[in-house]
Symmetry: C3
Subunit: 395 residues, 3 copies
C-alpha cells in the first residue's frame, strides 16, 4: 500500500540557472467576452468536500438561526441523516468554484435567476460545479457585453443538488493576451450538462413528529400574512474577514481579496476590496433567519436577485422581508408544511427600521425599474431577491 | 426514505403584491425589566452541536495551552474519550444561547457567580441551554433594574454539564413595544429546571499513569504557593475578529457586531462594537493557561466574575493570576491531584508586568469595593474572577 | 468508567488572602543565546491533532488550489487514505510548536534549510515536534548570536513526517532573568532525535489511473521549461486575521499578536504585529499553486528560504515562480511523475507583473548576495526559497 522512495538530496540551483526574460508566462483565468461560446460547458476545477465543522462555521459566520444547520440532533429528528449544509453555503460554493472559468474577468454580476435546491448536501459530500454558456450579447465595440450562463452543483453520486442561471457583464479582450484555455476533456467531447427544467426536489420522508422547543414563536407557516413587512432588528458590520471568506467558499476573483488589484481599478469598484456578493446575500439571509426561516425545513430556491450596490469592510448590513405568497405545499407535504414566498431586501449603514421609515414602499421596487417610473435609486439599498421556502405548520 | 416532489416553478411576484405599510412587524428579542417574572423558565432556542474542529478552533483562537483541548491522543491518555471541549467554550456557548431570552435587551452584564462544570463535553455532544429567573429588583421609575438568573447547559442525554448564576442590568420597557413572547411549551407547563445546589462532578476514572512530556515545567500542583502572583508574559491584541466570534458561540446581542446599533447608543458603550465579555474572559484564561492550567485536568468552576471595563477591537489584553488556595483533592483523587484556587485579573493596553508595577496589590481588590475603601478604580483593569482547578501533582 | 465527586462549594477567597509582592513569578519562554547548548534536545509542548476541517480551513485561508487538500474524493482517488494536510500546514505547525523553546526570544528567523516532507499527514494524526541544537555562534559582547537548530515533526506512530534546519538570531541574556527551564524528561536522559540524512519518502502506491478533470491545463510536468518565469496573477491582502492565525498553528511568539509588545520594540520590528513568516510563505505558495502545483502529488521539500522583509496587516503579497529544473522521477515513479524544482519569490504592495517589469532578473538573486555584487536590495521583495515537487505527467 505504500512505497519508500529515495530522492536525490535537494541542492541549491537558483544561481546556476539563468533568468530568461523572454520565457515569461502570465497565466490568467476567467474569460473575456469573445471567449464565451454559447453551448460550451466548463467543468470547474477542484471540487469541494463539505465538512461538518465547516458547514457549521459557515452558518455561524453568516448568523444563520435555523437549527437544521447548527444542531445535529435537531437535523436528525427532522428526517435528515445529520447536520445539513445550508443552501446558502451550497449556492456560495457552487458559484465560487465556477468563478475561475465564468467570471474571474467579469466586471459585474448582473443577476441570479431560477435557483433551485434539489437535494440535501451533508457532511463528506463532495460537490463539483459545471457551467454552460447560454447566451452572449455584444453591445458594440468597446462596450462590455452580457453573458448568460447556467450552473449546476453535482454531488459524488452524479446527482444535481443545485441549478441556477446568472447574467454577468464582461469586457472584450481588447489588446490583452487571451486567458488560459480550458483543459481538454479526456474523450474530446463536450461534457454532459444535466439541467432539468421541471425538476423534482428530493427530500427525506419527514417523521410524523418534528422536533419542538428550539425554534422561535413567530415564524411558523401560519404567521405569514401576504403583504406583510418584517423588519429584522439586528444588523451585522462586515469586517476584513470577508477577504479570507471569499476563498473559503472557493471564489478566486481578486476584486475581493487583492487590494493592489482593487485599488488599481477605475470607477465604482476602485479602492478597498469589494465584498463578494454571495457573502452579502448570506449575511442578509442569516439576519432574516430568526424571524422568517427558523422553522423552514427546506429552501426551495430564489430568483430575480440583484446586488444593487457593492459593500466593503466596515459597512453594516441589515435586512427586511416582505411576504409575497403563502400557499399549501403540494400533496402529502401539506399536512406539515406550507410554501412561503418572501422578498428579501438588504440595506447598509442604516438600520432596517430607519430604512423603512425613510423609503417606505420604494424599498420593495426593483432598482432597475425605477428609472422608468421616474423614481430615484436608493443609495443605501444593496440587494433584492425573491425566495421561496417550505415552512413548518404550527399544528 | 426519500421522496421526490415537484413544486410549481417559481415566478416573480414582488410587483404584483402591494406593500401594506400598516402591516409591519418588528420582532424584538431579549426582555425589558417588567417582562422578567421570577420563577419563569426559558428554554433557549437552537441548541449547539459541539464539533471537534470547532472545539479546537475555539481553543486556538483564545490561545489555550492545555493539551486536553488541542491533542486528541493526550486527552485519551488522560482518561477522556477524546478531545475535550474547553470549559470556557461550554460556558461561552451556554451563556450565548440564552442571550436571546435573557439579555439581548440588557444594558450590562453585572457578574457571574457559582459556575460549576459538572461533566465533560465532547465531540458531537449537543447542548441546550435553559434559564430560570430568580429575582427582579426594581430601583425606581426610569432607572434600570437588576435581574438575577440561573442558567443550565444540558446535553443530549439530559445531563447538566454546567450551571451558573448571573446578574444583569436591564432597563424598563418605557414606551417601547413589548418584545417577542416566548414560544409556549408543548404541554403548557413550565419546563423543569434541574439545578442542583450541591452537585456531583462526573469525571472519568483517570488512568494510573497520566501522559508525560507535553506540558510545562512550572504549573504542577506543587508549584502553587498561596499568596503568590504569577505575571503572564504575553498579551493578545483583539481584532475585528470578535464580531464573527460573537455568533460563533451563539450570542445574538447586536452590541457586539452591529456598528449602526452600537454607535447609536449613548454613554460608555457608544461607538465601536464592544467585545462580548465571554470572549474577553476566554482570552485572559488562555493567556494564563501556559503558566497555571497546562497541567489542569478539570476546571471546577468560577465565581465573583466582573467585567470592570469594556474592550473593543484594537485593545491588547493581558492577564495575571494570584494563588488563593492549594488544597488536597477529595478522596482518592488526592493521589494524583490537588485543588488550586486562583484569582484571575485582566488588564488592557498595558503589559501585565507594568500593570503590577504601577498598581501593586490594588490590582487584586475588587473594583466595586474600592469606593468604600477610598481607592480609585483602575482604568486599565478589565476583569476579575476567582476560579478553581483540579491540577495534576508532579509525582 | 466514570466517577461522581463532591467538591466543597467554592467560596470567595480573594479578600482573605494577602497579596505578597515579594512572591511574584514572571514565567518567560524561549531562550537567550547563552541558554542554547549544542546537542540539547527539546521536546516541544502540547502536540497538535490534525483535524479534517482544520486542514481544509488552512488550505482555504492560504488560497491553496491543489485538490489533494480540498477534495476528499480526489485525494482518495489519488491513492491517499483521505484528505491530505498540506505540507505547508505541517511545516507551519511543526515550526510553531517549537517556538516556545526555540525562538520565542529570537530577534529574527534567518533561514530555512533542507526541509523534507517524509510522510503524509492525515485527519486525526497527532504530531509532536522536537528540536536539537546544532550550533551556537557568538559574535561578541552585546551582539546577538546565531543559533542553528534542526526540528522534527513526529506522528503518533513515532514516524518522522518532516525534518528541517533553521538558523535564528538570538540576543544574549544580559541582565534579564533566565527563562523558564525545560521540563526534565522522565528518565533523565536526553530524548532521542531520529533525524535521517538520506531519508526515504513514504508515499502511497499510486493507482494506475489518477483522477482527471479537476485541475488546470497548464501545470503538468510537461509544461515546465527550465529557466521560465511564471507570474502569478492574483495577490492577497493580509488582514488582521494574521493575529489569530499565528496561534492557530501553535506559534506563541508575542511579536505576532501582542501590540503592546510589538510597539514596545525598537527598530524595524517596532509597531504593528509582524506577520509570522510561516504564514507569509503559506500565502505565497497558495497564490502560486494554481499555476505550478495544482497537479503536484507530493511536495518534496525546500531549502535556502529567507524572509527578506517583514509584512504587516494591510500588506498585499504576490508571487512569482521560476523553473530551476525538471527531471524524471526516480524508479517506477517516472511513468507518472517528474520532479520540478522551482524558485518561489514573494513581493508586497506591487503586483507580481509590475515587480518583474521593474526589477527583472534581480528579483531572482538572493538578497544576501547583492551587497557583494554591488546591487541594491529590493524593498518590495519579501521572500525567496527553492522548492521541489513531484508533479504528474499529462499522459
Amino acid at each position: 500500500m505504500s512505497q519508500a522512495i529515495r530522492f536525490r538530496p535537494q541542492v541549491e540551483l537558483a544561481e546556476k540557472v539563468g533568468v530568461d526574460l523572454k520565457k515569461v508566462r502570465h497565466p490568467h483565468y476567467g474569460r473575456y467576452l469573445e471567449e464565451f461560446v454559447p453551448g460550451q460547458v466548463f467543468v470547474h476545477p477542484r471540487g469541494f468536500t463539505f465538512l461538518r465543522a465547516q458547514m457549521e462555521a459557515f452558518s455561524r459566520t453568516y448568523m444563520q438561526c435555523n437549527p437544521l444547520y447548527l444542531n445535529d440532533q435537531y437535523a436528525r429528528a427532522s428526517g435528515f441523516s445529520g447536520l445539513l449544509a445550508s443552501p446558502q453555503m451550497v449556492f456560495n460554493v457552487v458559484l465560487s468554484l465556477g468563478v475561475q472559468n465564468d467570471s474571474e474577468k467579469a466586471m459585474a454580476n448582473l443577476g441570479y435567476y431560477d435557483a433551485q435546491f434539489l437535494r440535501p448536501v451533508q457532511a463528506m459530500d463532495t460537490i463539483r460545479s459545471l457551467t454552460k454558456v447560454i447566451d452572449r450579447k455584444e453591445r458594440g465595440a468597446g462596450k462590455p457585453g452580457i453573458v448568460t450562463i447556467r450552473t449546476l452543483g453535482i454531488n459524488q453520486n452524479d446527482q444535481v443538488v443545485l441549478q441556477y442561471e446568472r447574467k454577468i457583464m464582461v469586457a472584450g479582450q481588447g489588446d490583452r493576451p487571451p486567458t488560459t484555455p480550458l483543459p481538454t476533456s479526456a474523450d474530446g467531447l463536450m461534457p454532459s450538462f444535466p439541467w432539468v427544467d421541471d425538476a423534482d426536489v428530493i427530500l427525506p420522508d419527514f417523521p410524523e413528529r418534528l422536533p419542538a422547543g428550539l425554534t422561535g414563536p413567530n415564524s411558523w407557516f401560519e404567521d405569514f400574512a401576504v403583504g406583510e413587512v418584517i423588519v429584522h432588528a439586528n444588523g451585522r458590520t462586515i469586517t476584513d474577514e470577508h477577504l479570507p471568506l471569499t476563498y473559503a467558499v472557493g471564489n478566486t476573483h481578486p476584486l475581493h481579496f487583492d487590494r493592489v488589484f482593487s485599488s488599481g481599478l477605475s470607477g465604482k469598484m476602485s479602492g478597498d476590496p469589494i465584498v463578494y456578493g454571495g457573502l452579502v446575500f448570506a449575511w442578509l439571509e442569516g439576519l432574516a433567519s430568526r424571524d422568517v426561516s427558523e422553522n423552514s425545513i427546506w429552501e426551495l430556491g430564489f430568483t430575480e436577485g440583484y446586488h444593487t450596490q457593492p459593500s466593503i469592510a466596515g459597512d453594516t448590513v441589515a435586512a427586511l422581508s416582505r411576504v409575497l405568497a403563502a400557499e399549501e405545499a403540494p400533496g402529502a407535504l401539506a399536512r406539515q408544511f406550507g410554501v412561503v414566498s418572501l422578498q428579501l431586501i438588504g440595506v447598509k449603514n442604516i438600520s432596517a427600521a430607519n430604512a423603512l421609515a425613510k423609503y417606505g414602499e420604494d424599498l420593495f421596487i426593483k432598482e432597475n425599474d425605477k428609472k422608468e417610473m421616474g423614481k430615484e435609486k436608493i443609495e443605501e439599498k444593496i440587494f433584492e431577491i425573491e425566495r421561496r421556502l417550505l415552512i413548518r405548520k404550527r399544528s
